[in-house]
Amino acid sequence: MRIPGSMLFSSRYRLRQKRLHPITKEWGLTFYVLRHSMLAVVGGLIALAFLLIALFGSMLAPYDPISANIQDRFQPPSASHPLGTDTMGRDVMSRMLAGAQHSIKAGLIVLAIAVPLGVLLGGIAGLFGGWIDEVIMRVTDMFLAFPSLVLAMAFSAALGPSLFNAMIALSVVWWPMYARLVRGQALAVRETSYVEAARSRGASNWHIMFKHILPNCLSPILVTLTLDMGWVITAAASLSFLGFGAQPPIPEWGRMVSDGRIYMLRAWWMSVFPGLGIVLVVLGFNLLGDGIRDSLDPKLRRLTEVTWKREKTSSSSTD
């Protein structure tokens, strides 16, 4: 009997809807909890603002961030230059707007390399245990033992100073934390009854890894990722500050702090504003990360779910 294609499609569609519904409900609860945490909202707004600046900063900058304008050098903050000008007469605000993208790029690239690498190694170590675990963990310890900035500096010195090389260097020292995190989770999940049940029915190691261990790791990874964003940006800025990352004339914020160091007494605005910018961004991601951690906490969710449901039913009953 030929079933018309449209009927097949609709039943598969309905199935997908039915499966999607509980997942979207869970995310809905997550956003509800987030919305109601003042600190998380503040952090989220800061992070969002930073993201927008990174995307559109160059277009928004009123002055050219690169070319010099010597006669306007060392102007204090004023109406025409809200954050002042630097030693080359460039508008500090425009430089910051144009430079944000470099910090975010650094953050994203480092995490894009470090997180998958760390998760994979940590997962394998935790799942298999035994000598595999030992070997991977000792390698992890080795990388953790290195002072990260020193190692990054060595890398930069060897490969040549540039923001790109700084990002490679940071990735190398950033993955161990994720490896440890996922390994711990893997060890815990491995001992649960539901994994034992799966094994008793013949589940392979890959099945355990992808169906049980990794999904149960998503929450801690997401939280750590968010918190880390701020720290990677700081680390990239630190490297640039020390001269190993972004090179002039790139208006990377850490570089800007470094450039303005010797002029602190004369033109404090050159270092202070980029420095405050970094502080604010880190704060934003930290608050957002804490907020996400709370919103994923099962106990808090269970408590909040009651008020959330009540609000939903009362709003729908007033229709």
Partner: protein
């Protein structure tokens, strides 16, 4: 004459205690156990902490490798199994655990939790799989709108039903129930026990039921094995073990379990077991039970009693009078 689904011969398992790579002691978890599980039967295992019933069950299911002895499934020695044999074995056997709150992955939808064995054995995909899961849920008394929810929305009794539904996926022949009703209230337990009995009849299953609760074991099992410190001390049909308990430990165990008749409190108990269960690391010599045995004889600390058939397959491991 029913065939034996499982047969254990001289099954022994000990866990070494290591200190700096040297073995300083052993936990004698299971020692020289012989057991036959007939197809279609329910074998109950009773015993107190340290008796080895949990280890024995997991060794039978090949989740733990025995130190020595054989596990024979459908006449085939599983030690010499091929990968394909093992896969088939895993499809035909399943476990239901004691704690309903940790035996379901909290991050998975019910449809995926119960359907996991179908995924592992590639029985069905997509919508077909979900339809199979739905029929499993109906079998354990749950509804269609339970399919796409998370485990935390269900009560303990419902979760245990879900665990049983998962065990039934992919058509197993044998289910190990490891204290499966111990964490449930009496009224919930009654429903689950009735359901288990019904499923066994409908689907022609074989059960092994482990419990410390003698009345539950009696209700469900047709054969019962009593274990003490890693050894099987008595084995027989339900009537043999409960109506004519012979081993002193079995008699003490049955006497210790409080009865539902208030008038029994005035009657003096024939056996009162004193003392504690000794450690499995340094078990008593000879008969493991001799330090607590009211009928101890001089040779009981030297000679290890074998299981003797005292009639109709009723086995007791005690030195004869």
């Amino acid at each position: 004459m029913t065939t034996a689904l499982f047969e254990c011969r001289n099954l022994t398992k000990f866990f070494p205690i290591r200190s700096l790579l040297r073995e300083t002691g052993r936990v004698h978890a299971v020692e020289d156990v012989n057991l036959i599980i007939p197809e279609g039967g329910t074998v109950g295992l009773v015993g107190e902490s340290g008796c080895g019933k949990t280890t024995l069950a997991r060794t039978i299911l090949l989740l733990i490798d025995p130190t020595s002895g054989q596990v024979i499934f459908r006449g085939e020695d599983m030690a010499s199994r091929s990968k394909r044999d093992l896969r088939q074995f895993r499809r035909e056997t399943a476990i239901v655990f004691q704690d309903p709150y940790s035996s379901l992955d909290p991050r998975m939808l019910i449809a995926d939790v119960v359907g996991e064995p179908l995924v592992i054995h590639k029985v069905a995909f997509g919508e077909d799989r979900d339809n199979l899961v739905l029929s499993l849920l109906k079998r354990v008394g749950l509804e269609a709108d339970h399919m796409y929810r998370y485990p935390h929305e269900f009560s303990g009794g419902q979760r245990q039903r879900l665990a049983i539904a998962r065990a039934l996926a992919a058509d197993p022949k044998f289910i190990l129930l490891d204290e499966a009703t111990s964490a449930l209230d009496v009224s919930v337990q009654a429903k689950i026990l009735n359901m288990l009995n019904g499923l066994k009849a409908d689907l022609r299953l074989t059960y092994m039921f482990i419990s410390h609760d003698l009345s539950v074991v009696r209700h469900l099992s047709d054969h019962i094995g009593v274990m003490y410190l890693g050894r099987m001390v008595e084995y027989g049909t339900r009537e043999q073990v409960f109506d004519t308990p012979t081993h002193p430990y079995t008699r003490g165990l049955l006497a210790a379990a409080p009865s539902l008749d208030p008038n029994d409190r005035d009657r003096p108990r024939e056996v009162v077991l004193q003392g504690e269960v000794p450690s499995a690391v340094e078990p008593p010599s000879g008969c493991r039970f001799h330090p607590r045995c009211p009928g101890r004889k001089p040779e009981c600390d030297r000679v290890r009693p074998e299981l003797i058939d005292i009639g109709d397959g009723h086995l007791v491991a005690c030195l004869p009078e």
